[in-house]
Symmetry: D2
Subunit: 407 residues, 4 copies
């Protein structure tokens, strides 16, 4: 119990070595590139070098689950096996791309593996799995509470042998990235259908399709998350062939449902990674820094804060691991309660952990000299990503009340 | 993973049945007895009936670990096996005594099993294991921060073939209880010893020994925890024979160290039980109660609160279970960090969970009509029991800083 | 600005002297009386002695506002003048009765001053103002969310020249007190009235009226608040003459509205008093207690906690004072937002302040040796008294949203 | 009571008009300029236009207190008069500069008014008061806990008729700004002086002095606060004439002490302004946005959050106003406790208020489309500015413990 499988442990060791050799030593170079580049959305050469190395090291597409192992170079990774790997990658926010494990590409690839036609897979999945191009998932809309997927308003209308898309999306991660070539777009193809869950469809839209405009990059707490970016998009009579639909007309909601469980949990694991790293940095700082004649580590309040961070990270980690085990056993649907509990508890808890660690660092803790400020932004952002926490708490609360108020 | 052993599951099922048949249906009677009795410290007849039934049901001395199984009717229960049982008992605060599993008797019995002479075991352990009498552990003192055991001031002096005790203790649980007959008393037998951990001894003091006075029962937030009670005690020239010493002169600190790990974890498990029950009650209430034209369960803020309770209980439970697994594997010493994390996180978290559930119940939630107010008091009290949280956070913080700053 | 009137300052000085000479020195005696009495609901002789002295000292009925000064021996006290006096009384929870300033009598007296007939005033108000008897206000009901006054279900039916009352009430403060002789009872006299605010009436019911049963005293977190108590009451065909109605049939809601503003604010002021006293005790303790080789006051975390307590008490106090100033200027209705803000912010904040101060005291902080545990209970209870905080937050939130979202 | 002076009210009205006419309508243009500029540190033409208008409107140098009114076009503004003006300016983070009221220039001008020689005033104060140039205050250092001013390490050595400066500073606000021409630099001129408060001096260093390097701009949570910026500076044999010293050798600590009180309070007032604006935006959003079939404003949890924001803003505001009143009466020294209470309570409270308002806005709340994200960063940053909160809590806690533990 509370022991990872040998399979996972082996990958953990391999990944740890890779992080130590190739990721941590390159953090500064990566940051400097972005500081000095004229084009924050262009691919970063260092990333390509590291991807080659990661693939050679057998650390590629680790997110692929056992049921889809035919798409990977490994036997497939259960959620529980993958969780500690995602936590390790989370220590450096840009590192998941090195292993072709970054959101939203992982979710998009999973959609294509599960629902793509052979032609769709050949055209888009293969290069995605090879890390040659990147993808976006266009669901969130500015005008509506799109955390409820039935609210999306982008119109997908059939016109002859084409789908015509009109509407607006925002917070479309990866969309600014020049390497991104393909968007999975959620919209309403049958808004009058009585079954609210049959109104939606998802279609593949190449980024270069006429009528698709990148309005602007969005920031969160001042971060643009370059080179991936979060974009606002405008679709004006965007036309794609009928065969670009995924799974079939009216099945967009179904795809959306299947897609989101693991994604939320991966966010949580990465956040735990960055929070754990923040804690470790705070420990180093507490030992190294002297104020009022004693090391910070001698101050009782610092020790109390450190102890809180340790306990909260451990609790968050255990909740996520149990969620993974449940997902592995019963699928995302059977783990809905724990997924919602993780989604609504872990980011806010890790935000507080990181906040304390920043504070221990003094003013410097807020700068780019450490990983904390960006990690803080990531945690804060996750309280909105995939829907605001409140929406998930509402669903979870309803479920729990039902469970205990009668059966 | 995250699956209890068959051994534990079997006992869980048996205990659940017993709780349903014998404990929950008797809660009201137990409360009424205490309300109307003239003597709150006398044994309660109902308790004796239930103890007999529990013993017959094979639910007796479940706290005994595998290494001491010769003292039990069962094969011994690892911490991980026992944890869910303690949680179940925790749902009714007085129920652990039914199963001879209540604090501080469990810890005292463990001390006698491990360190008692044959004569001591015959005289005191045998009737304790049979539930015929109860015991106290007298360590905390009013004048000093006795969470640091080296601070105790009660004097234990040798005079001929007797130990003579002088000093004051308080918060001595069980001491008011008429069934309690024996105290394990911690004091200083060699206060000048250079080794601060060799200054203490522990001796067995029958409650009836002349010079031992019960000054008064203490309350916490208005609760006297009858019939067990928390007492203030005065020792004035209390004399016991030399052979009443435990383990040997100067070994009191050693005994204290060994004693406390599991106790703290049992408190945590029981608190999780009462918090879980509070959550379930809140769900029932939310469904049953209507305000402003809608069931409470329809209000978003109620759902959010319920979801928070669910998540926090789950995280607390997982932390405690991991702590148990670690203790089973490495002993209390090897699990020091997790024990401290549990001790300082679980009570305060469960206090908040219960507080929310009380609030959902309206004014009635604060009364004795529900288990919540008393559970709240238990949680609040646990933030002081076995030392204030701050002391443990200090130790844990220090340990974590050392771990990560290397040094 | 931020200066009390000379009028108030003069009374503050006088009250301070009285507290120092007569209240603090008698705290132990008062507590001991309750510990050893056979009848916790009987008047306490000490109280009568102190009341005589307070009256002689010109510290009597200080709650009476300027507009009703004809009922007092002084010129009337504005809310702002009275606030610091209520804070001072709050330091000893039982002391307001000494000055004839305790809830719910103050509110009841105000109702009688404003709405009572001459006969009602002669029979009940005169002895209440003289402190010869006490009163209850019976509004809350166990089955309904009576924080919404339109929900009350107790029936008040006219039968000839009598009102007949049937129903159940609970949390009726003072009702257990033997000195309490008169209840103001809120019920529905016209449940079918289309105007939901005209369905209620309030009638005067002597405690001795046949059919009125004291079912039981209620506790909150283990406290029975003797000798006043909070009772559950059953009304079975309770008959009172028609002239016992207050203000007139169908005007019960109107009375309730007018009654509650100052009451909530008095609770807040008293809570600030007990929190302030807790802070002062914690400072003394921090200086006096040594752990791990240094005074508690030397530990940074203790200083941080003390500083938080200071800041939060100050903020709470300022909010209440501004609320008082607004009430003095515009009446309770014009200060609705600030009253709700105080009601929902001060008790929970003071609960946390007291909680920290208890923790600094170690286990002893939870006992009756200090004022904190009982003060904690008072703060917790105030989050439910006069309706759960959530109800007031809902109203306040609605008001604020309206204010800023358009006008 | 709780009424602003007529003097203040008159300026409030005038400022409100100006904000409505000239500031709010230009927010977008200001943001767009920064987005598209090649040089984020260059003066923004719009700013110069607005400054001219503000001066014409008699809204210039409003921060100047009565005692220094000879330097202003008005009679001087007490802290209490100025507070609501600062709050109004706080609603748009860049607006204080429009009124020549932005940090750290206000503090620097005050230093020059109080301690500058006539020559220093002519050269630097006159153009600063005219808004023709800007200034920095160089105190914080990366290697030491410079919240304790006695820790600064930058060396100021006398060499003939020059001071020679060597050392490193960071978080020097305004330093990146091209309009900034003069730095007040704190350093040690006599590190061996037995009196630790006589070791420091402050000297005027023109930005263009050889040896003074701008190493880099620093960010906090991703914000660079352009065009002002926070810079890291390196001083290598920087030489200035002897007459550039302020007040005299060894008097640097004295200047630092006098400078900081009002500055902290101005930060607090501005934060309250941005929090108040966030609340108002959240109200508008709550009314406008529909989720799950009802306006957000109908959801109980939204109302509760709004009510919390209202209450906390009000409490923070009152604390700051009382602090101002006390400073006006007794000076910064006599208001030390309240200044520390404000400094350590208001930013963290406003951070939480803004966090809730962001959350109500969904993902968009984190973007630059609203003032909240930048306001959040400002609040977070203020928990470090002028020293981490913990340092001030330590001092405040110590003061309060002393006050109540004996006297």
């Amino acid at each position: 119990m509370y022991q990872f499988s040998e399979h996972s442990q082996e990958f953990q060791a391999r990944l740890q070595t890779f992080m130590d050799e190739h990721i941590f030593p390159n953090e500064d170079q990566y940051a400097q590139h972005l500081h000095h580049t004229d084009n924050r959305w262009a691919p970063i050469p260092l990333m390509d070098e590291l991807k080659t190395k990661a693939r050679e090291a057998g650390l590629w597409n680790l997110f692929v689950p056992p049921g889809l192992a035919q798409f990977a170079d490994h036997d497939g990774m259960s959620n529980l096996d993958y969780a500690p790997l995602a936590e390790m990658m989370g220590r450096v926010l840009w590192s998941p791309e090195v292993f072709n494990c970054n959101a939203p590409d992982t979710g998009n690839m999973e959609v294509l593996m599960k629902y793509g036609t052979e032609a769709q897979q050949e055209q888009w999945l293969t290069p995605l799995l090879a890390g040659e191009l990147r993808s976006s998932y266009a669901m969130t809309e500015p005008q509506v509470a799109s955390s409820d997927a039935t609210n999306v308003e982008l119109r997908i209308e059939r016109d002859g042998d084409e789908w015509v898309l009109n509407g607006r999306k925002w917070f479309i991660t990866n969309a600014m990235y020049e390497r991104t070539k393909i968007f999975i777009v959620m919209g309403k193809s049958d808004p009058e259908n009585e079954n609210r869950h049959k109104q939606q469809s998802q279609v593949l839209v190449p980024k270069s399709t006429p009528g698709l405009e990148l309005i602007r990059p969005l920031t969160t707490l001042g971060y643009d998350d370059a080179p991936l970016g979060h974009a606002e998009l405008l679709f004006t009579d965007v036309r794609v062939p009928l065969e670009n639909i995924l799974l079939g007309e009216g099945r967009g909601f179904e795809i959306a449902q299947g897609r989101l469980g693991p994604g939320r949990i991966h966010h949580c694991m990465r956040l735990i990674g960055i929070a754990q790293r923040s804690l470790e940095l705070a420990c180093v700082r507490a030992e190294a820094r002297t104020t009022f004649g004693r090391a910070l580590s001698q101050h009782q309040s610092v020790r109390e804060e450190i102890s809180r961070c340790f306990s909260e990270i451990e609790m968050a980690r255990l909740l996520v691991l149990k969620t993974c085990a449940r997902m592995d056993e019963l699928g995302a649907k059977g783990a809905m309660d724990l997924i919602a509990a993780s989604k609504t508890s872990v980011p806010i808890m890790m935000q507080q952990v990181i906040d304390r660690c920043m504070q221990i660092h003094g003013a410097g803790g807020l700068t780019e000299d450490y990983c904390m400020a960006e990690g803080f932004n990531y945690a804060r952002w996750c309280r909105q990503a995939d829907g605001p926490d409140q929406v998930h708490q509402m669903a979870l609360g309803k479920m729990i009340i039902k469970r205990y108020s009668n059966g």
